[in-house]
């Protein structure tokens, strides 16, 4: 696992209902925004490597809905859906996200805010996901497509320092 490269993803938990992911890409943000929103592009990168792509559709405008469906390595269908609330290319997207499986699709959906900031031809994407409850957030953290690699204490220390810095 390459953790020290410049573009490595950062995950933080600023509150007990949130997950924040940040990752830099070597491309201008209009391109990143396009790759992020157009289903014909999304199908080329979204999901685990061994997944079979089943369905990618998105009506990217406020009130429009999206739906991505893949089959995981064991052939089990993994469907996600949601509704766009705010579409402000190429800077900001707000959309709901539901794991469309009982009982996860019965309550309130998670709310994602994705921001795209460009600097020197690179784009930083930050996705903040707010879950309706802490339990669901924790469940999401636990759903892995594969066995997680052991985390080093060093990175954990960094994470903790980062977490406390974010809040103070």
């Amino acid at each position: 696992m390459m953790v020290d490269r410049e573009s490595a993803m950062k995950v933080t938990l600023p509150s007990d209902r949130e997950i924040v992911m940040a990752r830099a890409f070597n491309a201008p943000r209009d391109l990143v925004f396009e790759a992020w929103t157009r289903p014909e592009h999304v199908r080329n990168w979204w999901g685990p490597r061994n997944a079979t792509k089943v369905l990618f559709e998105a009506d990217v405008r406020p009130g429009g809905s999206w739906r991505y469906v893949i089959l995981n390595g064991e052939g089990v269908e993994v469907p996600f859906k949601g509704v766009y609330q705010e579409v402000n290319p190429p800077e900001r997207l707000v959309y709901t996200e539901t794991y469309d499986v009982e009982p996860f699709n019965s309550g309130d959906p998670a709310l994602n805010t994705a921001t795209f900031t460009e600097e020197g031809g690179r784009t930083l994407v930050t996705v903040t996901t707010v879950y309706p409850t802490k339990e669901i957030r924790d469940f999401v953290l636990g759903t892995g497509m594969e066995e997680g690699a052991a985390e080093s204490y060093d990175r954990l220390a960094e994470l903790l320092v980062e977490l406390s810095r974010n809040k103070r």
Partner: protein, 114 residues
Amino acid sequence: MTPDRLSTTFAALADPTRRAILARLVLGQASVTELAAPFQMSMPAVSKHLKVLERAGLIARGREAQWRPRRLDGEPLRDVAEWMEQYRSFWDESFDRLDDYLQEMKKEKKHDGR
């Protein structure tokens, strides 16, 4: 680790003061007075936070009778980190492919003369 145990750990981590205490303990063990120093709160309030962390198994007490230093207990933290790692791997893989895919998109745009 059962989800309940994980919930306890996450609950303990959900508070900024407690995270700051843990961040301090990453640097080495410390007394309650030392841990309280950066915060503008009463000793009982700090002790309360320490109790939550202790109950979650995140910190342990030293044996020295006089000042009972607190130290970090890494085990539950490692469990949390492992859970996070699973979430991370889904997105890490996706993002790596997005990065590669963006390079292809860039090339194609040049080809199109756009």
